[in-house]
């Protein structure tokens, strides 16, 4: 039984008129000197290692290098970005790259985590295989995938041709022609680098989701089964809400990393063909390092800082909220129930519209591929569940949770291992 305790009332500040406190103690607190000693080294480090470089780069962004001289140009580097089509394309590419990568990583990571969560045998081996992309250095990942994608010597085209999948992809329009030129076709290059980023990023999502799944109270699943909830209802009303905070923090962290990703794309395409895969960080690198204009490069990154800043603020708020059990979502409390129900759909619709605008040639292909993965995962789960249920002599796989040590795959999305084990 869960006992909910009320939050303790916040401590009241000392009466302002206390005669035993000095003016500075009244302002900063009774032990402010001790606090300053404790917090001082941290503040000093943060200032030296984070604030100083940021402030310095703000100054740098107002300069240009003319030969050996550095001259002050005010906001010229920023105003130049307004008409800089390379920068605009870079920002768009970063957005497209991040959005699709996150969608796929969340979906596939969740599938992998659910699968691992409910496996009884071979979990260590499967977990090892799933984690493998994470431990492979990026340079190895990039050059390996470059080789795999090579239209002449690469294995991807050979395997897809021999299996008949490649020509089928061309028949349904997922690729314009077969054999596909994955990295040299501007329409395919971005999906190809997204694929590699997803391949490399799935382990992070799997591990964090797995931790989240293990933290969900098994009693909730038991109660839901007793109440006759279907697997989908259990997944929707127990698993997903239980993973909410983990999901938000994981997606935000990964979004920040992906939005600033440089190495993988640089090693795979150098931003090409043309600027089809060049993210904004590559534009900054080109200006600052290759053209030796540190000011212009700093301006590119500083312009994008607010976007990263918003993600960081959301992340910090989420993390603090999850630190404080019982604190509700203050923003959502202001909404009516109907508005709360509609909000996720509005966000999804708006995101889809933005993606359609930003990448009309990718969006339907991504949706199709994602749909196929989800349907396949669900189908495999259902088949295995049915087989397991028959072996255990149950009347119907969906009717109850498995018992006697055998776990149903159909409830991989909606059960706790302890509830059924």
């Amino acid at each position: 039984m869960t006992v909910l305790r009320e939050r303790p009332a916040p401590a009241r500040p000392a009466p302002s008129g206390s005669s035993s406190l000095t003016a500075s103690q009244r302002r900063f607190g009774r032990d402010w000197r001790l606090a300053a000693v404790f917090i001082g080294p941290t503040l000093l480090l943060v200032a030296a290692l984070i604030l100083f470089p940021i402030v310095s780069s703000i100054f740098t962004s107002t300069t240009e290098r003319h030969g050996a001289e550095t001259v002050f140009v005010g906001l010229d580097n920023y105003t130049a970005l307004l008409g800089d089509t390379v920068f605009h394309k870079g920002v768009l590419n970063s957005f497209v790259f991040t959005a699709y990568a996150e969608i796929f990583k969340v979906t596939l990571g969740l599938i992998a985590a659910l699968m691992l969560h409910h496996m009884r045998r071979g979990r260590a081996i499967i977990a090892g295989v799933i984690l493998l992309p994470w431990v492979v250095p990026t340079v190895v990942t990039a050059f390996t995938w470059r080789s795999l994608f090579d239209p002449i010597f690469g294995s991807v085209n050979v395997l897809l041709t021999d299996s008949g999948i490649g020509p089928a992809l061309a028949a349904v329009g997922l690729v314009d022609r077969w054999p596909a030129e994955w990295l040299s076709d501007p329409a395919l290059a971005m999906p190809a680098v997204i694929l590699v980023n997803v391949w490399k990023g799935i382990p992070f999502f799997t591990v964090t989701f797995l931790a989240g799944l293990k933290a969900i109270d098994s009693g909730l699943y038991e109660a839901a089964i007793v109440d006759g909830a279907s697997p989908w209802q259990r997944f929707k009303h127990i698993t997903l809400p239980g993973l909410r905070h983990v999901m938000i923090v994981t997606v935000l962290l990964s979004s920040i990393w992906t939005f600033n990703n440089f190495d993988l794309i640089w090693l795979m395409t150098q931003g090409g063909p043309g600027d089809a895969t060049a993210p904004y960080v590559m534009v900054a690198y080109s200006k600052a390092i290759q053209q030796l204009q540190l000011g212009a490069g700093a301006a590119v990154t500083l312009v994008m800082l607010p976007i990263i800043g918003i993600l960081v603020v959301i992340l910090v708020r989420m993390m603090r909220r999850s630190d404080l059990p019982g604190t509700g979502d203050l923003g959502r409390r202001r909404l009516t129930p109907a508005q709360r129900r509609a909000m996720p759909w509005v966000i999804v619709a708006a995101s889809v519209l933005v993606l359609v605008w930003a990448s009309p040639h990718i969006v339907w292909k991504a949706a199709l591929v994602l749909g196929v993965f989800v349907v396949l995962a669900a189908a495999v789960g259902r088949v295995v569940s049915t087989l397991a249920a028959r072996a255990a002599g149950w009347p119907h796989a969906w009717s109850a949770a498995p018992a006697r040590g055998s776990r149903s795959w159909v409830c991989w999305a909606s059960c706790s291992p302890r509830s059924t084990g």
Binding site: E64, R65, H66, G67, A68, E69, V71, A80, D84, V86, F149, D150, P151, I152, F153, P179, E181, W182, L183, S184, D185, P186, A189, T269, Q270, G271, G272, P273, G274, D275, A276, Y285, S286, K287, A288, I289, Q290, Q291, L292, Q293, A296
Partner: protein, 473 residues
Amino acid sequence: MEEKTDLSRRTFLGMSALGVLGLAGCGGGPAAPQVDVQVPQALLDQAASLRGGSVGMLSQKLYAEAANQALDRSLQAFAQATGTTVRNDLVSGDAGDMVAKMDAEVKAGTNRDLAFVSDRRFVGQLHNLGALTDVTDVVEEMRKLYGEPATEATNYCVFGGRWFAIPYHFIASAMYLRKDWYQEKGLPLKPHYSWEELRDNALEVSDPAKRRFGWGLTVNRSGDANGFIGNVINTYGGAIADNTGTKVVFNSPETVAAVTFIGDIYTNPKYTPMLPPGIGSWTDSSNNENWLAQILGLTLNQFSVYADSKTKNNPVYANTHPFNGATGPAIDKPLAFGESNSFVVFKGAKNPDLAKLVAKFMVSGSALLGVAKGAPCLVNPSWDKVWDSDPYYTTGDPAFPALREQTRTKLPLTTKTGLSFPQAPSPGDQAATAAYLLTDMMQSVIQGTRPADAVASTHARIVQVFEQQGYKQ
């Protein structure tokens, strides 16, 4: 008791590790050539007062590992003979950040004493940043010992009549074609061709069914593509900047004609059979890999690819016809004058005298010989008399005579449009090229933009880059 015969995990891992070690032992690159490195007596005398001193050096990584090892051995031989310490670190010139890092070191006062870098690509930039010291005295002294340096060096290492880099070894410009494929089709092997000839020959020798692709030049973002596109534009009579390197003259009928020529190769279905699949995504290493895989009929590269095929006994070496390059409507000679990896002494060097002495030693015959043998035809003498210091430089490879001739190319080479090459080192030109404006322009043409429009919009972007460098247009 039954004996356990199953393979335990520990045994399996142990055997796997042994297997990996065994395989590693079987592999390995070509052994570094052994050369008896001698320090000339004159240098030993000069080093007497510097005994106990030390210098730090950065070396632009050579594409042959054996050459890098030979370089280290030469430095160690010098250090032992003179009682000094030389610390050498390799840096990659292709990473794109070498100049920025070196400049940052100089500004922070933490720089090494000397480095050797490509004079065509980096010396002008480093001088422009104010990071180099005058080494005219060393060059004059070396002239007396070794004769004249490669002609290109007088353009890339001299600023305001003063030398800021000491030519070390010469790297030739070249293109390569498949001798056997040309001979099969009865096509002539010449010291140079026009771009149109090369295109038509490439189509003729192509046979995708046999994995023969006649054209191995990409226009994707890479140093090789920058070189290819720039060379075609120059031989057609166009250029990014005028002869002073300060005024943008990119948008011209000649440039449009060159871009139209290149664009046609990648968009006209007639030429599809000569383009290897995936050429649109090639980066700097791709043409080397495909050339060594023997599927290309033509490519443009430094002699690294030639050296690699020779030292690793790749059959393509025997079928390679290296030639000077291509001509265009504006000039009947290829714009081939090479470049030198040259020593620079940084401002703020702790031991500049010892740094200059190291440079003088490394240029000399025996110190260079091991490096040259490690990377045949990629590393060549920059100084005239060093070519005569060992029989290897005359008989070591059939390509040597042409390479030596390239060091003597009379410069400048002038086009019918009045442009002189090599042009004055231009920070604006360098920045525009590094920003991949040329390759992005070609991609837009491939995507359907009219060449004239693509050239006009690229001109506008180049003007922005020049103005950002302080050259108002």
